[in-house]
Symmetry: C2
Subunit: 327 residues, 2 copies
């Protein structure tokens, strides 16, 4: 694929670390227009050799867990140490709600004014698959622009959390020192993909935080007893608001990354994420093509009605629709 | 679709409740041969008006929870009361292991010799989607043959359990009175789809069973406090081995069914299950067609290698494969 002059200008701007080129690149990557998509693919493939050298950090937690406060404190800490920090988000609800995650930059106003920080709200294309896809591509653009730490924030909803765990190197679950919060996390299926568990707001009630930590550690132990095998993720306490525990958090995260680099698990995880990303994309586009097919669209209402009224077996209905799709 | 004489003979045999016709019908439904599939669709659509009038019961639990013992005790209890009971299974591992669920009818030897009982092991087509699909179709054949209670057994693995919950009217989770068993169930995501939770082997250690019950009830309460909304599923104790608590179980299951019939939830659940079934089928076949496409098959190894070596962006690779598929 040859690059158009506009795309080439974007690439050169990105390589110089220009924020404006980064913003324009992400806008291009997020575009759903067909001709934009061809340019976006060319851009991505051109950028690819300059990507992949950041640390990708996923942050999740229920509303009120203090994600913005934590990300701001961590971002400022990292910038002070010479890092360049990009903050992205995956929030499929943002198209409806107008953005519950990062919709409002004022939530991180000290971080957002830093020249070494770049904050971008969640794309709002509707489905989780679409949003996750665009965030993955934005992450590559940030890496090409020289950001060496990418933080991806998500809401405490199982599906989004699993998606973000699947695109980051270290996935952090932010918990509140509340009874039952750990059960919620287990229920959402997120406890088993967490690489680190952080009890935030530990300053508010030290006893509750200690109890929460004991509950979580015990829950994690139960799982490994039942065959999880992996070493247990560390459980830390901190106060993002007071900035207490941020340095310890970063040390622990760095240890996980170092251990995985040493064992080869880091590269293996990146590789398997790239393959999952490709297959997710194939599945999503196959379905989109199916739903956009004129024959399928025309037949669907009556087929759905037949299935609803149990006039045709669901599997026979599926086969009838697929026959239409093939022609 | 017109019926061939052989298929017509199957239909008539089924309507007379003949076990041989039932076994042959399920074998046809399980066949992966293309011409068999056309006959199978015709058979399904012909049977459809005679289906749907059973109570569909899903039973799950980890190995050792006593699923076979429970199903045998329940089946014998129901047959004594004039019901006809079919027992099917969803166990995607059975193709590899030779069958861990219902592979061995001797595990239910008293039930299997009953004229009013029909036991069929899990189909072993490999993927969960395929196995679930065939079990759904076998369920319809059993209903057409006059079985009014269909019990679908599955293994205690999250995905299979969710699939079985999605094809039954009442999904029962069998638990052991062991510490941590409820956390496992929450982790598998099965606690939230369970309509009833049954602590089996309650005779072995009454204290442990009572503690398990309290733990489960408390976990369920935590969830509803956090917005689940539904009424909580009943938590029962019983001993399948001694036959204690089976009548109470059946009364509680009947109450759930009666309440759902009264509220309209029963019909709504059946309807939405039929739609999910259709879409699952569409997705699975789209993917199968994609993977079977000669152009895709030829290009896939080098595309995978490029993605593995980060030479091409995963989303660009996906689009390249989809272009091949379209031609």
């Amino acid at each position: 694929m040859s690059l158009s002059p506009e795309t080439l200008a974007l690439v050169e701007g990105l390589r110089r670390g220009e924020r404006r080129a980064l913003a324009k690149s992400i806008t291009l990557l997020e575009s759903t227009r067909r001709d934009d998509r061809v340019r976006a693919d060319a851009l991505l493939n051109e950028l690819l050799p300059s990507t992949g050298r950041s640390c990708r950090l996923g942050i999740s937690g229920v509303p009120g867990a203090g994600k913005s406060t934590f990300i701001e404190a961590l971002g400022l800490y990292l910038i002070e140490r010479g890092h360049r920090v990009a903050v992205l988000a995956v929030d499929p609800s943002s198209s409806r709600s107008g953005g519950s995650v990062l919709g409002d930059k004022t939530r991180m106003e000290r971080l957002s004014v830093q020249p070494a920080a770049y904050i971008r709200p969640s794309p709002s294309s509707g489905t989780l698959g679409g949003v996750a896809e665009k965030t993955r591509e934005a992450m590559l653009a940030c890496e090409a622009a020289g950001f060496d730490i990418i933080i991806i924030e998500t809401v405490g909803v199982g599906q989004s959390e699993i998606a973000v765990a699947g695109m980051t190197d270290v996935f952090v679950l932010l918990q509140l020192p509340n009874a039952g919060d750990e059960l919620q996390a287990i229920k959402r299926g997120v406890m088993e993909v967490a690489d680190m568990i952080v009890i935030n707001k530990a300053d508010l009630d030290a006893d509750a935080a200690t109890r929460a930590r004991a509950m979580i550690t015990s829950a994690l132990r139960t799982f490994s007893l039942h065959g999880r095998g992996d070493s247990q993720p560390p459980v830390l306490q901190l106060s993002a608001l007071k900035g207490e525990g941020i340095a310890d958090f970063w040390t622990a995260a760095g240890q996980i990354v170092a251990e995985r680099h040493a064992s080869g698990a880091f590269t293996e995880r990146r590789r398997s994420q790239a393959l999952s990303w490709m297959w997710d994309n194939v599945h999503a586009r196959l379905l989109a093509d199916f739903h956009a097919h004129p024959g399928v669209r025309a037949a669907l209402p009556s087929v759905l009605q037949d299935v609803n009224e149990a006039k045709v077996a669901p599997s026979a209905a599926a086969r009838a629709l697929l026959e239409l799709f093939k022609h």
